[in-house]
Amino acid sequence: MYPKRKEKIVGIEEALSWITKGSFVALGGFMIHNHPMAMVRELVRRKTGDLTIISTPPGGSIEADMLIGSGQATTIYSAYCGAEALGPVMPNYQRKIMDDEIKNYDFDENTIVCGYRAAVAKLPCEITMGGLGSDMLKVNPFLKVFNDPISNKPLVAVPPIQPDVALLHAQRADCYGNIQHGGSVFMDELIASAAKKVIISVEEIIPHEFITKDPFKTTIPSTLVDAIVRIPCGTHPFSSHAYYIQDEEHIKYYVKCAKDPKKYRAYLDKYVYSVKDNEEYLEKIGGVRKLFELKIY
């Protein structure tokens, strides 16, 4: 008998127990696509508190806004927090920055990428020209301008960004944690490389043989993954690339509610706090009929 290889499929409670008060959490996906919303709603229900979040470069959206609006996140590193045409700026993010109720560090997409790359390479910094002349360098204490000894010209040094836990959503995984994205990978692979612990929710678990049949399709290798949580439709109201499109009506409804603290509390009560799991949530947003509507590929 050969020894048995460890499987990485776990329940959502176990996976999220790695996130504790004060954890630094990275969120994957992009703009209105692939954000790990079911895990974020569970994280809000757990009331961990005092989290520092880093929204995926650049496109954070409701996943960041909900952690801010529910009071779970007190610090954010971000290059963008909105929903494209459906809501150019996320309301809780906007309000809490304007009222100085959250610590906000403005990066741009590239400086976040540089921070992740420095962490992956175990270097004290990654360098870039990006940001020279921009006020971003004046307001972000992490970014330092220095004179490059080779060209004797200014460059920007970005320190490592190493989240404690990364929450990502992909389309398929085997039981050992090999990931296949159905569509765009966005920054997920880089985030997985930089974070200390990586939790990925997936639409479906596929047999290991499907992975080995075409290893070129593996977008994140199991070596980078600590836990797989099976959560079908786990990105709603966002799209899950190649599986279903975004629920634009619900995203607009979220943005509308989030603009008004009273309506927002009612939103959280209805769609997060009073809900046991993602299945119950999916029934509330319109159930099978709604989900089939979104499945138009």
Binding site: V89, M98, Y116, S239
Partner: protein, 264 residues
């Protein structure tokens, strides 16, 4: 030969498409329906060899219908390749010829603000962040700006927050700040006019005003003094052929017709 009826967003997409040069390569950010339409139209008219990466969905040269989100998976129709996004900033974007960008404020030098209005620490209005502007604008490539609102408070003499560098403060200010000299902003398109930049001062000047608008109205809606050269003309309106291709082959869902901006 000219179309009778079109929306400001359709006009903007068509005018932008004429500026794109055959054989060049570029990209746009998110929330970029107008630049996406412009690239698609250019390839179907005068620039069949134009190459464009569809924002962070990272698809090369999508040919299907126009969608609201440039990162939508449905943009995959017709795509030829997929870019590794976490390498884009290091290996792809520095080699581009052009990039599209916007902002909540733009100044006479084409510097832009997407971040914050008022005091940064206690802002009157908070924008979505810095996005990719600080990095993309520091590259020596052609920048096309599109603004959905042309108002005295979006076109301002001084930005509240400088997110993306344009021509910085003119003269040799860019070199002094260590930012690579290069093309920088070449064109600003809004629902009422097209602006470019004076070669000497690097300040914005009126290039053309859209049909139905006067140069005086453009100046009235601009928060700084526009350079008014002698050869200002009316923007060449969409031709019937351009609008036909745009509506039937590209904007099949009427996204540009439904877009809201300061003229509509």
């Amino acid at each position: 030969m000219f179309a009778d009826e079109y929306t400001p967003s359709e006009l903007m997409a068509i005018v932008l498409s004429r500026e794109l040069v055959d054989g060049e390569t570029g990209e746009m950010g998110a929330y970029s329906q107008i630049p996406m339409a412009a690239c698609k139209l250019a390839r179907l008219t005068h620039a069949p060899n134009l190459n464009w990466w569809c924002s962070a969905s990272s698809f090369l040269n999508p040919t299907g219908p126009l969608y609201e989100s440039s990162t939508d998976y449905r943009n995959i129709t017709g795509a030829e390749a997929v870019l590794h996004m976490n390498e884009a900033f290091f290996y792809a974007i520095p080699h581009y010829d052009f990039f599209f960008w916007g902002g909540i404020q733009i100044d006479p030098y084409g510097n832009s603000n997407l971040t914050s209005i008022g005091d940064y620490k206690k802002p009157k209005f908070r924008g979505p962040g810095c996005a990719a502007l600080p990095t993309v604008s520091a590259l020596p490539i052609k920048l096309f700006a599109y603004m959905n609102d042309h108002k005295p408070y979006t076109m301002v003499e001084k930005l509240d927050f400088l997110t993306g560098v344009g021509h910085y403060y003119g003269g040799d200010s860019k070199t002094k700040a260590g930012i690579p000299e290069g093309v920088g902003p070449v064109l600003v398109i809004t629902p009422i006019a097209v602006m470019d930049f004076d070669k000497e001062t690097k300040r914005m000047r009126l290039k053309s005003y859209h049909p139905g608008i006067t140069p005086g109205e453009v100046q009235k809606n601009t928060g700084f003094k526009l350079i008014m050269p002698d050869n200002i003309s009316e923007t060449i309106p969409p031709t019937k052929e351009e609008l036909n291709i745009l509506r039937n082959e590209i904007d099949c869902f009427g996204i540009l017709r439904k877009m809201k901006n300061s003229k509509s």
